[in-house]
Amino acid sequence: MEKFLNVNIDGIDVIVEEGTSILDAAKKVNIYIPTLCYHEDLCIAGNCRICVVEVIGQRTLAAACATPVSNGMVIKTNSPKVRNARKDLVALLVSEHNTQCTTCYRSTNCELQSLANEFNIDNNRYITLPHADTQIDRSSWSIEKDDSKCVRCQRCVRTCAELQHVNAITVAHRGEHMKISTFMELPLAEVVCVNCGQCVIHCPTAALTERRYFDYIWEAIGDEKKHVIINTAPSVRVAIGETLGYPPGTRVTGKMVTALKKMGFDSVLDTNFTADLTIIEEGTELLHRLRKALLEKEKVALPMITSCSPGWVKFIEHMYPEHLEHLSTCKSPQQMFGALAKTYYAEKMGIDPKDIVCVAAMPCAAKKYEANRPEMKDSGYQDVDAGLTTRELGLMIKQSGLNFAELEDGYFDTLMGKSTGAAVLFGATGGVMEAALRTVYEVVTGRELPFENLNFTPARGLGKIKEATIPLEECKEEWAFLNGIELKVAIAHGLTNARIIMDQVKSGTSPYHFIEIMACPGGCIGGGGQPIPTNDEIRKRRIAAIYAEDEGMPIRKSHENPEIKLLYEEFIPDGPLSKKSHKLLHTHYTKRNRY
């Protein structure tokens, strides 16, 4: 039973459902009220007060984001009183801010800067407040925190609590000392932060950014002796266009590849290659665990959970350390790539691995941390030398002075550059599951996954937790023990949803065999290293681009990737889960504290 209310906004009558905020009601009639602490992904805080409007008959202005309309309300969103108040508020924020826009990473993509521009703020209206604490926290491999750029909107705090259920950052102190801090005010590297970078893409300013490594990479490119390889993750190609002026959801794979070649990378390769490889290894691992559990009646951890999202991996290490055996031992595609780059690739190309610099272009902040995990040195060197975010890569393309729009489409180089449509799916929530099932189902039954055009629709979309049941029948002889089994799978994205899944695992009530978990809402297309802004509208467009990429690929099943077949033939002859595979492609996990 919906109740509808009549309101008048700037002279326009509008009818809205009960419970609608003034902000949303105004949007309905194309009136855009400026905001700062508001983010469509998060609950309402109402603390910046930028969105204030005049409600006729009320003594104070109302925060449009936080105030539900009531029947008969007459609202003015742009009266002199409102304008003056907003301008004063922005001037206050500027007076508190370390306004070094010229040297700021978020310049031209900063909500405070836009507001200050829009309101034409006079920097001298108020006295500039001293920035008592301008110490930048660079303790983490992934996240950089600069309080002097913070507007205290608490979007990061809400992100970390609501979307990720991590609560690594909180509000500390009161009044003039109020700031965003951590447990006991410890450096970020020492708290439960899982490096997902969601706080970064929800921060309106440069107070939270990713640690940036592009100068190091330019150095390496310039160094004649170094052979610099870059591999790009599936979700980068559908998002990087946004940093270069394209609308969300534009696929720029070919131009991106050309740009990277022109920038001087010695080899431009595809993380999708190791995404396909992950499917082979992880699919085999799943079947191996199922065989043990169902046929050999051995104790083995089920459900098995994917391990390609390093934010998720660190989350489970902190929050559910006693359940690590559920994680697949597969490394993430980035780390498989690094380990192979400095062994297989080096061998085949005749390059000394010590001269190889392996760079990963990722949608992710956590991958930077992952690259620096002490155990990730199976090639004898640090497997991955540096991780870049989509944003950093976009900036590097700008720095190189290329006219991106005019570039021809290029193709990934070979040896670890070929991939399938299944691999590109890794970029969206549900993608690993879909790719895995395309392979596992076929391996077990000899038939293609019975979905139209191979599109496993139950895994798609932004639903919080997606579930599916796949009946296994008429299996091949080797897999006869799976006959009649209903394979139960689930998919979660965003760590708050992961927690729901894990609480089931913990209590022993999880009904699934196989679970995909991605740390970021929407999967990698919504990763912490992706272009800002990111919201559901944009996530959907990037996801659509992922599926379009998949459909555009000639091969759409990982096990049919010819380069993967070649890799096993030439380099890992004993196949998936063999000793060599274990050494290079699998890893182990670390129990961590909850605090």
Binding site: P68, L89, L92, L93, Y126, R174, G175, E176
Partner: protein, 393 residues
């Protein structure tokens, strides 16, 4: 002594001998009658905002909710006031009774006393009273339990929604209103938050009846009120005074002969200079001639030896510290006011900068999220405009 300066002894007047008589009597009446009495009495909240108490109870009674709560706000954070402490110490049964009656009216089975952390020493005695109350409630067949919740010590936690946040184990930050606590308060259930004195006064309404209560005071402000008198006065202390007295009368009684200003309502109240004593009455805003000022009860007198600049500076230090810090106008505004008057005093900024700061307080008044930030303008503008020379030289 003028009539309204009688020491009424109504609120703190003894109740201990009556053994919950008023409670027993009132519980037998219908909810509607009780609410009507409260509304007829004209009783308004004594916590500062002055919301009509009967209306608040009615709203909470009408709001749907599986559970409801009564919270007695005993956070008493305003510097220089300790009247709520006196009430809880001397006449706790009035407060407990009124909470129970409120519980019956709105349908709550649980009440909390949010006690300021510094008042921890009251707990043993108060808990003993609560235990006794629970026995009495049993005899009356009343299902209502009361619990003490010790506050965290922040001034802003006295604000009703911050108080609720803090009771829920969250950071003491005021919430957006609406929804108001009567709609969605503690645990998102309908909740009445009343000041200690409001509850004690409500019981007096039930005892003497709305007509008698209404006879006290003037126009919109009825009943009597506890005032904490402090500053340059020969007789500091707590006084039970009738509403509607003029500041001139007040100063005559409590001043030291040299009073140049009175701060009515503490840091968030107004400063009244000598020339306005005669035209200013104490009460809630109404259609009176001159200004009438609401107050949580603090009355601070200043004589000519005081620097009003220092007085203001102290208030601003207080606000800059005690703001919860979440909202822009209050967090940054308080700091700007504080360093701004200092800059003018030192000649770093011209005297006209004070006009800029006055405009800033206008912004704070209409944009701050809660009463703290909204009310900084009161003391700031009243001190700056009335004592402009002291600000500059």
């Amino acid at each position: 002594m003028p009539d309204r300066l009688r020491k009424l002894d109504m609120i703190l007047g003894s109740y201990t001998n009556e053994k919950y008589k008023v409670l027993e009597k009132t519980l037998k009446r219908s909810n509607e009658e009780i609410i009507k009495d409260l509304i007829d009495s004209g009783l308004k909240g004594r916590g500062g905002a002055g919301f009509p108490t009967g209306l608040k109870w009615r709203l909470a009674a009408a709001a749907p909710g599986d559970e409801k709560y009564v919270i007695c706000n005993a956070d008493e954070g305003e510097p220089g006031t300790f009247k709520d402490r006196e009430i809880l110490d001397c006449v706790p049964r009035k407060v407990l009774s009124a909470m129970a009656i409120c519980g019956k009216v709105i349908g709550a089975k649980k009440g909390y006393i949010y006690l300021r952390g510094e008042y921890k020493f009251l707990v043993p005695k108060l808990q003993a009273e609560i235990d006794l109350f629970h026995q009495v409630a049993k005899q009356f067949n009343l299902d209502f339990k009361i619990e003490i919740f010790l506050g965290s010590g922040a001034y802003v936690c006295g604000e009703e929604t911050a108080l609720i946040q803090s009771m829920e184990g969250k950071r003491g930050e005021p919430r957006n209103k609406p929804p108001f606590p009567t709609q969605a308060g503690f645990k998102n259930m309908p909740t009445v938050v009343n000041n200690v004195e409001t509850l004690a006064s409500a019981l007096m309404v039930f005892k003497i009846g709305p007509e008698e209560f209404r006879k006290l005071g003037i126009q919109d402000s009825h009943g009597s009120k506890l005032f904490s008198v402090s500053g340059d006065t020969p007789k500091p202390g707590i006084y039970d005074l009738e509403f509607g007295l003029s500041l001139a009368e007040f100063v005559e009684e409590f001043g030291d002969g040299d009073t140049k200003a009175v701060q009515v309502g503490g840091a968030s109240g107004f400063c009244v200079p000598r020339k306005k004593f005669a035209e200013t009455t104490i009460g809630y805003q109404g259609g009176l001639v001159g200004d009438s000022l609401p107050t949580g009860g603090s009355m601070m007198l200043f004589n000519s030896s005081r620097s009003m600049y220092n007085v203001l500076k102290n208030y601003l230090d207080f606000f800059a510290e005690e703001s919860c810090g979440q909202c822009t106008p209050c967090r940054i505004g308080c700091q700007q006011l504080k360093i701004g008057i200092d800059a003018v005093k030192r000649g770093i900024k011209p005297p006209e900068y004070l006009d800029q700061l006055l405009k800033l307080t206008d912004t704070m008044k209409i944009t701050a999220k809660c009463g703290l930030g909204q009310s900084v303008a009161n003391s700031f503008s009243s001190i700056v405009t009335n004592f402009i020379e002291e600000m500059i030289y």
